[in-house]
Symmetry: C2
Subunit: 364 residues, 2 copies
Amino acid sequence: MTRRFRIAAIAGDGIGKEVLPEGLKVLAAAAERFGLQLEFTHFPWASCDWYIQHGEMMPPDWKAQLSGMDAIYFGAVGWPALVPDHISLWGSLLKLRREFDQYINLRPVRLFEGVPCPLAGRKPGDIDFFVVRENTEGEYTNLGGVMFPDTEREMVIQESVFTRYGTDRVLQYAFGLANARQRKHVTVATKSNGIAISMPWWDGRADAIHADYPDVTVDKQHIDILTARFVLQPDRFDVVVASNLFGDILSDLGPACTGTIGLAPSGNLNPDRRFPSLFEPVHGSAPDIAGKGIANPIAMIWSGAMMLSFLAAGPDPDPRCGEAHDAIMAAIEEVLRAGPRTGDLGGTATTVEVGDAIAARVRG
Amino acid sequence: MTRRFRIAAIAGDGIGKEVLPEGLKVLAAAAERFGLQLEFTHFPWASCDWYIQHGEMMPPDWKAQLSGMDAIYFGAVGWPALVPDHISLWGSLLKLRREFDQYINLRPVRLFEGVPCPLAGRKPGDIDFFVVRENTEGEYTNLGGVMFPDTEREMVIQESVFTRYGTDRVLQYAFGLANARQRKHVTVATKSNGIAISMPWWDGRADAIHADYPDVTVDKQHIDILTARFVLQPDRFDVVVASNLFGDILSDLGPACTGTIGLAPSGNLNPDRRFPSLFEPVHGSAPDIAGKGIANPIAMIWSGAMMLSFLAAGPDPDPRCGEAHDAIMAAIEEVLRAGPRTGDLGGTATTVEVGDAIAARVRG
Ligand SMILES: CC(C)[C@H](C(=O)O)[C@@H](O)C(=O)O
Ligand SMILES: CC(C)[C@H](C(=O)O)[C@@H](O)C(=O)O
C-alpha cells in the first residue's frame, strides 16, 4: 500500500518565495512519475511579513500545526530591513531546529560537471564530502548579558553550551555515516588551542566515540587551518563533523569551493523521527536578488530530493521515494551539465526556467 | 643619531626553530645595508622543550625580561605530542598577546606574482587586503566549566567576553587603517543572526565607531557567508575587522586563497607602545614538516619587515627602518617571482636556500 507523506511547505521570505514553488513543482513531477503520495500543506508564517502583522514569527500553536507532519520543506527566512535577524531567526528557523530536536544538520558538498569551480584545476569527483553540523546547542545561545550597559565600562558575556548528550549524538551520527562510506574518514573541527574549556572537552568526546568505530580513521583540525584546507585540499575530506558555529561556517565555505552556494541543500534531521525533519537550502533569503526571479532553485530542489531520501529510509518506508530521489538528482546533474543556468552559474535563465527544465527531466 | 632597537628573538617549537634564523639573517642584511642598530637577545623559553624541563612555558620573570624590548620576533609555539596545545599556547603566545596588551592582530592578505593561486583566474593585484583581528578577548577565554563531570549529564559552559573598551579600539584601528587607504572600505565580520547576545552588540559598536569615519564605507557580513566570499569574491575586500575567533579563521583562510599560509605574516600590535609588539608568521610550528629543513621562511621574513615598519612609525623613529622594510619586501617579491621556492610553492629549495636568496637581494 502506498504510504501518504504529509509535508509542511513554508516559503518564508525573499527568494524563499521564489525557489519553494520550483521545489514543489519538481516534487510533484516525481510524485506523479513514481506514484508517491505527497500531501503538501502551506503555512504563511515563519516570515517577516507575518511578524509585521502579528508581532511574532509563528502562531502560538505552531507546534501542534506541524507535529503531525512527516517533514517540513522550508524556503528561507529573514529580512533584516524589516526585522532584525536575531529576532526573525530565533523566532522561527532556530526555534524549529531546537524544539523539533533536529540535532543533525546534514550538508553535502559536491562538485558537479558543468559548474565552474572557483578552485583552479579541480574536477567533478575531486570534491564530494559531507559536513555534519550539530544543530541544537553550542555557540548559538541567547545566554549571557550586558553589564554596565551604555557606559564606558560596558561588557558582554556570551555563553556557549555543550552537553555530552548533544555532542555524543552528533559525533555518533558522523562516525556512522563515515563507516557506511568508502573512505571511512572523519575530520573533527576543533579550536582546542584557543577556546580553552569547551573545545578540549569536545576533542575528548570525539576520542570516546571514535573508540566505537575501529574502522574509521580520524583527524582533528583547528577551524582556522581547516578552512584553509577546504581551499587547498578539498579532495581530502569525507565526513567533517563540527559544532553549530563551525558547521555553519564550513557548510557555506564548502559549497563556495564548489562554485556557488545556490546549489547547497541541507537536512535538519531528527533521526529518531519523533519530530518532523526540516529540509532547506543553505542559502538565505538573499534580499539583494529577491523579487527578480533570478535565484537558483537547485538548492531548494536538491533539498527536496534529500527529503525523499530521508522519508525512504524511515520505518514503514516507501522504496519509490528512493527512486524519486535518484531521478531528481539525475535531472539536476543533467541541467547543470547542459543548462539552462541562472546568473550565479554564468547563465541568464530565470528561476522558473531552471525549475521547469528539471521538472521536465524528472517527468521523463 | 641612530636609534638602537632592542629585539627579543624567540624561536619556540618545530619549524619556528628553522624559520627564525632565516628571518634574523635577512634582518641582519638589512641592518648592515641601511645602518640600522638592531640588537637581538635570544630566549630559549616559550617552547615545549622548556616546559618539559621546567614545568612551565616561561620563567616567572618573563615580563621583566621582555619589558624593555622594542619588539618580539617570534617563531611558532606548540608541540601537541608533548604538551597539549591549550597549555603550551595559553602559557606563552596567548599570554604574551594579552599581558602586553597586543590588542591588534594585523594580517595582510596579498597575492604575489609567481605564487600559484588556488582560485581560478585571480591575478596579483586582485587580492590585497588586511584582516584586523581583535587579539585579547572575545571567544578566547578559559572562563566556564564542566557540570556533572564524567557522567551522562555532563555539560560544559564556555564564556566569551567582549568589552566596549576592547571592541571599540579594534574597530577604531580598522576604520583608521581603511581611512588611510584608497578604497576606504571596512567589512565587519559578524554572526548576529545566530550568536544572539554578543554579536548584535558588536554590530552596534561598529555602527557607533563608523559614525566617526564618514569617508569610510562599511558592510557587515555573517562569518559563514564571509568565508564563502573570500573564495568567490576576494577582490571585494579592503579592511576586514573581526573578533578574536573570526579573525583567526579569516586570517588563515585569506592566505590560503593566495596560495599558501607559508607566506602570511602578522603583527600583534600594542599601538600605544606601552609594551613590546610581537611579530610572527601566521603558520604554526607544523610538526608534520618540522626538522626537515623544508619550511617556507617567507612568512617569518615578511613578519620581520612588518616589525621594521612598525618601529619606523614610532615616536623617535628611524626612517631607515622604512627603507629596510621596502628592501625586504622587494627581495621577497623577486624571490617569489624567480625562485628559489620551497615545496609548498611547488619548488624543491630548502628553508636556508630561500633565506639566503632573500638576504642576498637585500644586501643589494
Ligand atoms: C596557535 C593559536 C592559538 C593561534 C590563534 O588561534 O590565535 C594561531 O592560530 C594564530 O592564528 O595565531
Ligand atoms: C540564518 C542563520 C541563523 C543560519 C545559521 O547560522 O544556522 C544559516 O546561516 C544556516 O546556515 O542555516
